[in-house]
Every structure is written in structure tokens, then in C-alpha cells.
């Protein structure tokens, strides 16, 4: 597992501790019950902190699944 994926999994795990690693990797806004607007904002903040990136306001909506977050992180 590459480093970015592992670090992103840690972020998701902190936010959704009830999910297993496979469930986290498959997680989307539509499939996780407690992935609400507060969770979305918290996720973006954690990613910014963990990966030292700054997410533009108009990019927030892209962070709607684990894979989408990973694609963003790997593109930075």
C-alpha cells in the first residue's frame, strides 16, 4: 500500500472509526450514513493538515469519496 493511501486511510479512520479498512477504501458521500456536511469539512481540514495542501473553496465538492480524495492528494 502506498504511503499516501495509508495516510489517507488514517484520516478516514479517525472520522469514521466504525468502518473497516476495506469499507473505508470504498466509502463515498452516498454510502456512509454519517458522512454529512460537517464530516466533509472535517475531512478536507484533515487532508490539508496531513498532506500540507490548501484546498480551494470551489474544490470542496470533489471530496465525495475515498478514491476522489486519494486522486486529489496524489495530484498535488
Amino acid at each position: 500500500m502506498n504511503d499516501n493511501r495509508q495516510r489517507l486511510l488514517q484520516c478516514f479512520s479517525s472520522l469514521f472509526p466504525q468502518l473497516s479498512p476495506p469499507q473505508l477504501e470504498a466509502a463515498t458521500l452516498d454510502t456512509v450514513a454519517n458522512w454529512d456536511s460537517v464530516a466533509s469539512v472535517t475531512l478536507v481540514s484533515m487532508i490539508e493538515e496531513e498532506f500540507a495542501v490548501s484546498v480551494n473553496l470551489d474544490e470542496y465538492s470533489q471530496f465525495n469519496s475515498f478514491e476522489a480524495c486519494l486522486r486529489y492528494v496524489e495530484s498535488q
Binding site: 488514517q10 484520516c11 479517525s14 469539512v41 472535517t42 481540514s45 484533515m46 490539508e48 473553496l57
Partner: protein, 575 residues
């Protein structure tokens, strides 16, 4: 603390009954709430915490409705928009000379309302608060380097406001301490403010939350510091250069050591026990302590362990003289080897290396303040070292056995029983939570629980002071419980170890029967690994020590009570 770590702490909290903390602010607390929860949970590892927040946009309303939240603790976070919404950056506003005048007046009105809300808070709720922590908004037409009239007027109003509230027991966050941890320019997150309503950067939110946790749930302060001498308390090795060859002043480039002496003296005069553990020639050390320019005087430190033996043994002996646990002691030495030796023998002792670079001494002194800081200095604190010396004299007078009857009768012993509960004397809770040996059941109370208990109907709390011809011991015992008709039910009974051998416990028991006019006293006893002395006291009235409520009748007590010679005075009026 990172946000992910804070979330893990919050989600990992244990099950069970929780205590509630109410976060009152007008912005969206979001990550501040998470960090506050995590830092406070770390400060209270044994109890689950629940953090609730108020309504967006209404700090005063949130404060006014705080009692309905039934919270044990309250964190109040003010920001500029609470003084006037036009100070905020999220909504449009007009900034000109006229509106600035109006904003100043509005700030005055809002601070009045906030002041009234603070003053109405019940005293049982532990409250901590901060004034605005973000940089002053760019409202005025002056350059930012020049403090505008608006900024000066607002600062003055805030200073008056804080002074007004200080007497109501609110714990104000120190702006200076926050400035060290959280640089001003790194606090405001404009993007976050616009996107979520939380104006703080993650780092500032974490630092602010950490500071609040220390205010609301402070760690127990350490009680004693054992210090080395050479190249610690002074610059130089006394045995090599002689008593006049060691220095601690600016002229000899040794002022860092003088600062350390100054802090130790200040600690001693506020009740912290100070002792010396040094491998040195006692005669040389004596001469240095006699120097006129020595900042730490003889009566500031006791005992002085000056010899060539291991420092771990010195620390152990000092702890016995002080009669405190090793986990309450800080050991300071410039030698890493000595620190390691003490740490290996006594892992509970906090060992600190005295900085070799003078530049590090100022921060070191701040660290000592953190370890020993307390809300107030009481008469007990000032008496502490004196009473330890008195105990040494007592032990010398009585020898190794129990004092004889003539000695006890001639003590001129006097008890003062303070029954006042409103406001509660903080010494009572301090004794309850730190006493182990003479402790009825080992149960502790946190501040919120204690305040609620004291407000219950029928509750009593006696704080007992003692003095005799050897001098005052200060406030040394607490009895607390409930009084109902012909029964006094004692839930807490603690007594400081330095008060042993004076039959104070018997006098307290007699006072229960006489002052409360009861024939029966019920003691909520439970054995603990350390309350042996209490068990010895109860033994005459109990065949078998186990957990159960002990009931002692007045006649039974008197039949086994030794002669008592104390005079007793009660302080009865509510404050």
C-alpha cells in the same frame, strides 16, 4: 495536536456516565469543539466527557441559557463580532468614522449584557473564558502599526469588563501564554471563516483548546522541588572555588542562576516545599547560605541534604520529612547522570535538567511555574514549611513512641471548626483529593461535583484548623456528609498526616456528636491500600474492617475515647 488525533481521542472515550462541558461562543465551533473535547478528555482520563455547544450568532444568549444545559464546566470564547457584528469578516459592513463611533457604543452595551450573564452564572459551574484572540480587524483608517482610537477604546472597555468579572470566579485565559504558543498571524483562517464559520486555523484551535483544558481541569500542582547546588543554584563548584567564589549575579555573567534562586524563593513563599540535594562540603554550603547576597534564604529550604551519598537516597529522605508522595516531587540538577540516577531509583519523580545554556533558563523557570502553579496562595501554603519544621521539633520532643499523657495535656491544643459552605474554602477540596492515609474511603470529588454536593439540603462540610504551643498547623482536616434528624452521616473524612498523634481525630468525632446534637454517627468507611492510620483509629469500634457503613453510638465512642484537652471554636456564620 492534529485534528485526526483529536478525533481518535474523542471517539475512543470510554462508556459510562459522562460529565458535560458547555462551549459558549457565537461562531461555528467545529474543530475547536473537537480539540476542546480531546484536550479536556486527556485532562480527565477517568471520566467520559460530553461537549455541547450553543446557538450560532448569540454569545450572550448562550451564556444566559447556560444553566439550562446542566453542565459541570463552561468554556466561553469571545471574538470581535460579539462586541459588534461589523467587526466580523463574513458579512458586509460599512467602516467609516461614524460607524466606528457607533461600534464603540454597541460594544459597551453588549459587554454590559455579557457582564450580567457572567455574574448570574451559578458558582458550582467551573467557568473559563477568553477575550478575543484574533488580530483586531482592519476597521480603522489608521495604518495597522498605529493603535487607532477605536482599538484603544475597545481595549479599555474589555479591560474594565474583565476586571468586573474577575471577582465572580471566572478563570481568564492569559493572553501572554497563548501568544507564546500561538503566534498572532497564524490564528485567523479567512478561508475557514467563509466556508464554515470557524475563524480559527487548526493550530490556533488546538492551542486555544489546550489552554482551556488546563484552565478547566488543571493538573494537580507538584508540591516540592529538590535542587542541586553547584552549577544549578549558583555558577561554580563551591568545593573548588570556596564560598565566595560561586556567583549568581550579572557582573559575573551568572544572573541565570540568580533568576532560578529568585523563582525558588517565590515558590517557597507561596507554599512549595524546597529542599537541597547536593554532593558537597556541608561547611562550605553553610557559608554560602549565610552570604548577604544569597537570594534563597535558609528558611526557604528544608531539609538540606548535603553529603557525598547518592541523591536518590536524599530524595527519598526528603520525601519522608515532607511526608508527600514521590510523584509530587520535582528534582533539578545540571548533571544528566544525577537526573538519570534519581529517575532510575524513583521513576515517579519528575527529573529536570538545569539548562547548560543560560538562554534556556527563562523558559525553564516558566516550566517550573507550570508544574507548581495554583489559583491562590492560602495561609496553609505559607505555613507548610514552618509546620514541617515544627513536626521535626514535635518528633524530637516526643521521641519515637507515642506522646505521654502529661505532654498531650500540656499542648494548649486548639481546634477551629469552620462550618461555612458559601463560598466553599478551596482548601477543603484540596485536602480531600490529596490525602491518602487518614482518609475514610479514598473517594475523590472533582470541583463541579463538590460544589453541587455543598449546595444540597442537609449537607455539611467542616474544615478543621489546629494549633498548639508548637505553633499552627493550619487547616488540616475535612469532615463532610449529611445531617438528618438524629443521624450524622459522614461521607468524607480526611486529615493531614502532619496532624497525627494529637488526638485531633477523637476531638472531631466528639464535635460531631456535640455540635450536630446526634446520638449516632454513620461513617461511610472503605478500606484502601493506604488508609491504615484511619483503620487504626476506627479499630476500637469495629471488629472487622470491610466496606460497610459503620455506625458509632455516642456512648460507645465516649467509652473508648482517650482524654481530650482541646478547646474548640466553631465558625458558624455563612460568608
Amino acid at each position: 495536536m492534529k485534528l485526526a488525533e483529536a478525533l481518535r481521542i474523542v471517539h475512543g472515550a470510554m462508556e459510562g456516565p459522562s460529565n458535560r462541558l458547555y462551549l459558549a461562543c457565537s461562531f461555528e465551533p467545529l474543530h475547536l469543539q473537537t480539540f476542546l473535547h480531546a484536550h479536556c478528555q486527556q485532562a480527565r482520563p477517568g471520566r467520559r466527557l460530553e461537549v455541547c455547544k450553543g446557538l450560532y450568532g448569540d454569545l450572550a444568549g448562550n451564556l444566559e441559557s447556560s444553566e439550562a444545559r446542566d453542565a459541570e464546566a463552561l468554556a466561553v470564547v469571545m471574538e470581535w463580532p460579539d462586541l459588534d457584528p461589523r467587526f466580523g469578516m463574513r458579512m458586509p459592513a460599512v467602516w467609516n468614522a461614524e460607524t466606528m463611533k457607533d461600534m464603540t457604543q454597541e460594544a459597551g452595551r453588549r459587554l454590559n449584557r455579557l457582564g450580567a450573564a457572567f455574574e448570574a452564572l451559578p458558582s458550582r459551574v467551573i467557568t473559563a473564558a477568553c477575550l478575543p484572540t484574533l488580530p483586531f480587524p482592519p476597521v480603522a483608517f489608521t495604518t495597522p502599526a498605529l493603535a487607532s482610537e477605536l482599538e484603544l477604546e475597545i481595549e479599555e472597555k474589555l479591560a474594565v469588563f474583565r476586571r468586573r468579572i474577575a471577582s465572580s470566579g471566572v478563570r481568564w485565559l492569559s493572553a501572554n501564554v497563548l501568544a507564546i504558543a500561538s503566534p498572532a498571524l497564524a490564528r485567523y483562517d479567512f478561508k475557514s471563516d467563509l466556508a464554515t464559520g470557524l475563524p480559527y486555523s487548526l493550530t490556533h484551535a488546538s492551542h486555544l483548546a489546550s489552554a482551556f483544558a488546563r484552565l478547566l481541569f488543571p493538573p494537580l500542582p507538584k508540591k516540592g522541588i529538590v535542587t542541586d547546588l553547584d552549577n544549578t543554584l549558583w555558577d561554580g563548584i563551591a568545593g573548588e572555588v570556596g564560598p565566595e567564589g560561586v556567583h549568581w549575579d550579572l557582573d559575573h555573567k551568572a544572573r541565570a542562576h540568580g533568576l532560578y534562586q529568585q523563582v525558588l524563593r517565590s515558590l517557597s513563599e507561596s507554599g512549595v516545599l524546597v529542599a537541597v540535594a547536593s554532593k558537597n562540603d556541608p561547611a562550605v554550603v553553610d557559608k554560602i547560605f549565610d552570604r548577604e547576597d544569597f537570594i534563597l534564604r535558609r528558611d526557604h529550604a528544608f531539609p538540606l541534604e548535603v553529603h557525598w551519598g547518592p541523591k536518590s537516597s536524599s530524595v527519598e529522605r526528603i520525601a519522608k520529612v515532607w511526608n508527600i508522595g514521590l510523584d509530587s516531587i520535582v528534582f533539578v540538577d545540571d548533571s544528566a547522570m544525577e537526573c538519570a540516577e534519581v529517575a532510575r531509583a524513583h521513576p515517579q519523580v519528575e527529573c529536570l535538567g538545569f539548562p547548560s545554556d543560560p538562554a534556556g533558563v527563562e523558559a525553564f523557570c516558566r516550566r517550573l511555574r507550570e508544574l507548581f502553579g495554583r489559583d491562590r496562595v492560602t495561609d496553609e501554603d505559607r505555613l507548610r514549611l514552618t509546620s514541617i519544621r515544627q513536626n521535626q521539633e514535635w518528633n524530637a520532643a516526643t521521641g519515637t513512641g507515642e506522646a505521654n499523657e502529661d505532654f498531650i495535656a500540656g499542648l494548649q491544643a486548639r481546634l477551629i471548626v469552620d462550618t461555612r459552605r458559601n463560598p466553599p474554602d478551596p482548601r477543603a477540596l484540596e485536602l480531600l483529593n490529596k490525602t491518602n492515609q487518614f482518609n475514610l474511603n479514598g473517594r475523590r470529588r472533582d470541583e463541579g461535583e463538590w460544589r453541587r454536593f455543598l449546595e444540597e439540603k442537609g449537607a455539611f462540610c467542616w474544615l478543621v484548623s489546629y494549633e498548639d504551643r508548637f505553633g499552627p498547623l493550619g487547616k488540616i482536616a475535612v469532615l463532610a456528609g449529611r445531617h438528618k434528624e438524629n443521624l450524622a452521616s459522614v461521607e468524607h473524612w480526611v486529615m493531614s498526616c502532619r496532624a497525627f498523634s494529637r488526638r485531633i481525630e477523637f476531638a472531631c468525632m466528639r464535635q460531631l456528636f456535640e455540635a450536630l446534637l446526634v446520638q449516632t454517627v454513620e461513617l461511610d468507611f472503605a478500606p484502601t491500600p493506604r488508609n491504615g492510620p484511619l483503620q487504626v483509629f476506627l479499630a476500637p469500634w469495629r471488629e472487622k474492617m470491610d466496606s460497610a457503613k459503620m455506625v458509632v453510638a455516642s456512648a460507645c465512642f465516649e467509652s473508648r475515647c482517650p482524654p481530650l484537652h482541646h478547646t474548640t471554636k466553631e465558625l458558624l456564620n455563612e460568608r
